[in-house]
Amino acid sequence: MTDPDGGADDRTPDAGGSAAESTDSAAESGESADSLAERRGLDVDVYQPAEDSGLLARAATEDGRLGPDDVALEVGTGSGWVAATVAEETGARTLGSDVNPHAAEQARERGVEALRADLVSPVRDGALDAVLFNPPYLPTDPENEWSDWMERALSGGESGRALIDPFLDSVGRVLAPDGAVYLLVSSLTGFDEVVARAAENGFAVETVVQESYPFETLSVLRLTSE
């Protein structure tokens, strides 16, 4: 889970495990993402790079649209790994924002220009050439969500789209005319619903990368203004 470049086999059970925990067994066992994270010996306050992070960084880098003159923002940057990787690979000035103060600190320590923000709300109109987002997407029982920072990093509310929908409704404002959004979508979240919401907001939608794991399929969508 901490090595996004490692083999797929030892990473995928983590994603599936978290999903199952959130949707099925969490209520019975009373286990939170926090105790799961602790059991795995992970940071309990800040989401660490996983297979989804690796896929998002790869999509934004290999798509070839970002260069040294560009400004990008990773929303919900967590540890800052994706933002740092994209900055290093493309030369783009890549900011990282998070609601979580511990995440903003970790990202800054990694050398990312960090800020605390709610989605793209403090960004100037048309200021960004790219916006990256690996959202909290696991559908979660309302009674178990948002009790701590790790839950906030993982939980997408009952639908899994509690953060994705407002993101899609607001991100167009901050995008430069030829800018692009890179959004990670899990099949657990409802791929078709996310694509439909993006289209409603006037975006052309393309799948840049897609990988299947035992419990979910992860895709990175590229959204551009039509």
Binding site: V99, P101, A114, L115, D118, S121, P122, R124, D125
Partner: protein
């Protein structure tokens, strides 16, 4: 934060320009200070190099 971030950020509430007041600066980074909206007057702190641009209601909720 770098001063050049001012070209990118605005007040999260009304999207107007922010005014920067620097308390502490190190090399090319603003370590602490305050960002004030030129329209609504809301203030946003910069602490340990990180501007907190959460809207006021969320800032209070998160920090509670």
């Amino acid at each position: 934060m770098k001063e050049s971030l001012m070209d990118i950020i605005v007040c999260p509430v009304d999207k107007h320009d922010l005014e920067l007041a620097v308390d502490e600066e190190e090399a090319d980074e603003i370590v602490s200070g305050t960002l004030t909206c030129t329209e609504c007057g809301e203030t946003y702190p910069i602490e340990d190099g990180i501007p907190n641009l959460l809207p006021p209601d969320m800032r209070d909720e998160v920090e509670a």
